[in-house]
Symmetry: C2
Subunit: 149 residues, 2 copies
């Protein structure tokens, strides 16, 4: 994942995806801070996770500063709330000039609007539509048992 | 999508994905029944949608029968509830012998267990993990603006 260089990554939201990314990037030797307003969400981090955990609302300036977002090489905003993800991303990009900012946006229409602000928008809804569209194009005999990752 | 033949498809759950699939399959000339326990969810269907709408809990036998699931070529279970999706899928497969049954399962561990029951399991969580893993392998200069579908 990423280049060889060890990066400093701030992950906002420690749900399924956030914890997956935090665990993975930490195991690959990157410096990781994961922020979530619910402390119990950190239970999804593995014992091997060697990054930091920060409890707080990531759309609050003080919390982001505490996470040293100004030094981040990358910010990944993956809370369940599109608004939070967009707000955090814009702060990261425009105020702290973080080189790479990725936001997960569930609402496809929303994603389209923010696509041109230097933020990488990932819309799982569109990914899912695309996946199903391809799946349904396959005849039954080839369809197998769904996605195998 | 699918073969040329017009199919009879029962879609359970009219959320973002369910309504997307219902609209799409209906526009492609397939016979569609969409089932949801919340009537307002049908607002996501387009004016062109020419299938049926059925209000009810799809894990109730009577509702599935009313949707003529016994005659379905395909059942797609995409409610927000993994349990409902698995229950409907098993009923469709084992009792009504529906040729093709697809269930969306959010919990990756759950998906694994049910993968071998003749049901196609689609796990968006795994699809999302995979997407992010690939995205993060790209250097910043190539990363563009996220998914474009």
């Amino acid at each position: 994942m990423l280049s060889k260089k060890s990066l400093y990554v701030v992950i906002v939201g420690c749900g399924r995806l956030g914890s997956f990314l935090a665990n993975r990037m930490s195991s690959e030797g990157h410096g990781v801070v994961v922020i979530d307003n619910d402390e119990t969400s950190f239970n999804a981090l593995t014992l091997d996770y060697s990054g930091f955990k920060l409890v707080g609302d990531a759309d609050e300036f003080a919390v982001l500063k505490k996470g040293r977002i100004d030094q981040a090489d990358m910010v990944i905003a993956v809370t369940r709330d599109d608004n939070s993800n967009l707000m955090v991303s814009q702060i990261a990009k425009n105020i702290f000039h973080v080189p790479r900012v990725i936001a997960r946006i569930l609402d496809p229409k929303r994603g389209e609007i923010y696509r041109n602000l230097g933020i990488e928008i990932v819309c799982p809804t569109l990914i899912e539509y695309d996946y199903f569209t391809k799946l349904l194009e396959k005849p039954l005999s080839e369809s197998g048992k769904g996605n195998e990752l």
